[in-house]
Symmetry: C2
Subunit: 265 residues, 2 copies
């Protein structure tokens, strides 16, 4: 099943959409957070009548389990170039996530605006020289079978009990079977990699997301995407995880940051 | 008028609060975005019945002008340690901003959790050796009279037509007359400095905020706060501005990122 099919929505009118959390997109039984957000964003994007998500923030309220869900959308402003939409993803009577996003047209934007980039893409060996992440019965989780990840060898040691010691994960991302990555799928990519905490030698088994914000900066060119996730502050029971996604033309296409819980050891 | 008074709210029941955008907190007649968000967050914090904002995201929909406003709050989840609340700030019949935030208790959090910091506070000369920002008739704007900023001399040249060339602004922040900075006022600090674009030698007069997200990581110790704002990507008509706020005990107390428009030159 493609990403597009697994996040498909059906409008029921009045801003309500029906959808289904598909099985196999989970980590230990709970749907991946980026995947859940993409279901909501597909409905919100439809409600916005704009082609691209520009920025999306999700707050995660409850685990998402396979089965029917509804997305309740509300267009709070339809501006000249940006439309702002709120969304709530609900399973039965439980709210799974609450989100707000802005939509626009990245084909049209900024062609005459000044440009300046003070950064370079992450340095990665070619995909063939990186570690392929394949799902197993429990770990890596089933979700890893729905996407294609190749991890930088320096950042993949955690999987054999040898974390790098640096809270960083770099690698390549694409969808399976050459499904194109649109600006919606970029949001999936921002939450698709193993947690940086796995490499930090912290006594942490999981870092549940409180909040995830993604800025989509451009439509990606076809081909593998280069991704890097880093954490600088593990303090007070929380950590942030900063992500960057670059396309094959060396252009930044998305930035992300999430706030996650660090369960007490 | 203190920050607390200028952001005060009165509950009208059913999650609705009345407030007032005070004059003098503006930039060219429009209220500062952080100030507007703090009005909404004060109402939402009250609705949450928790002492600290943990993370807040605002989407800016229309300029805020002095006068009466309402904040419509909705508690979407009251969890064991985190309460998530949405808010809409409305002036007459126009929605000014839409926000979502999570609240908790930073005094109680994470005392047994692992800690790790891979960063250092920004290097700043003492406040007395930095440039005091004082409001003038048009520039610097009236808002600068409501807070106290001291800019790093290397980053203050834009004010005399000599931008540094680096999209960075560092400086000290505090409230006037020793008003304590609580976790709410930290959100004000994340949007209180001149735009990084002013130092980037870009043909840009202003960078209106689309979206601002702040993570509050700790309650700040009293005294000046050290702040640094940087931009790495000016692309496609947008830029991001990343902020860090450190307190006098060398602890990170807030991280922020905003997505702003780069009006075409």
């Amino acid at each position: 099943m493609t990403f597009a099919a697994a996040t498909s929505v059906v409008s029921r009118g009045d801003g309500r959409y029906d959808a289904e959390i598909q099985s196999g997109w989970d980590i230990g039984g709970n749907a991946n957070g980026g995947y859940l957000l993409c279901i909501a964003l597909r409905a919100m994007r439809d409600a916005s009548a704009r082609p691209d998500v520009l920025t999306a923030t999700a707050h995660y309220l409850a685990p998402g389990k396979p089965g029917p869900v509804s997305v309740l959308t509300d267009v709070v402003k339809a501006g000249r170039t940006i439309t702002t939409v709120t969304g709530a993803l609900e399973a039965r009577d439980k709210r799974v996530l609450q989100t707000i996003a802005a939509f626009g047209d990245l084909a049209a934007s900024g062609s005459a605006a000044p440009e300046r980039v003070d950064a370079v893409p992450p340095d990665l060996p070619p995909p063939d020289e990186c570690m392929t992440v394949r799902p197993a019965e429990s770990f890596p989780p089933p979700f890893m079978g729905r996407i294609e990840l190749r991890l930088h060898p320096e950042d993949a040691g955690f999987s054999r009990g040898a974390p790098s010691g640096e809270p960083r994960v770099r690698g390549w991302f694409r969808l399976r079977e050459d499904e194109p990555v649109d600006t919606l799928a970029l949001v999936l990519a921002t939450d698709a990699f193993p947690p940086t905490a796995f490499n930090a030698r912290l006594p942490v088994a999981w870092t549940p997301t409180v909040e995830l914000t993604t800025h989509v900066r451009a439509r990606p060119a076809p081909d593998w995407l280069r991704c890097a996730f880093t954490t600088r502050f593990v303090t007070g029971g929380f950590l942030e995880e900063d992500g960057e996604i670059w396309d094959a033309t060396d252009r930044i296409v998305a930035q992300s940051r999430q706030l996650a819980l660090v369960p007490r050891g």
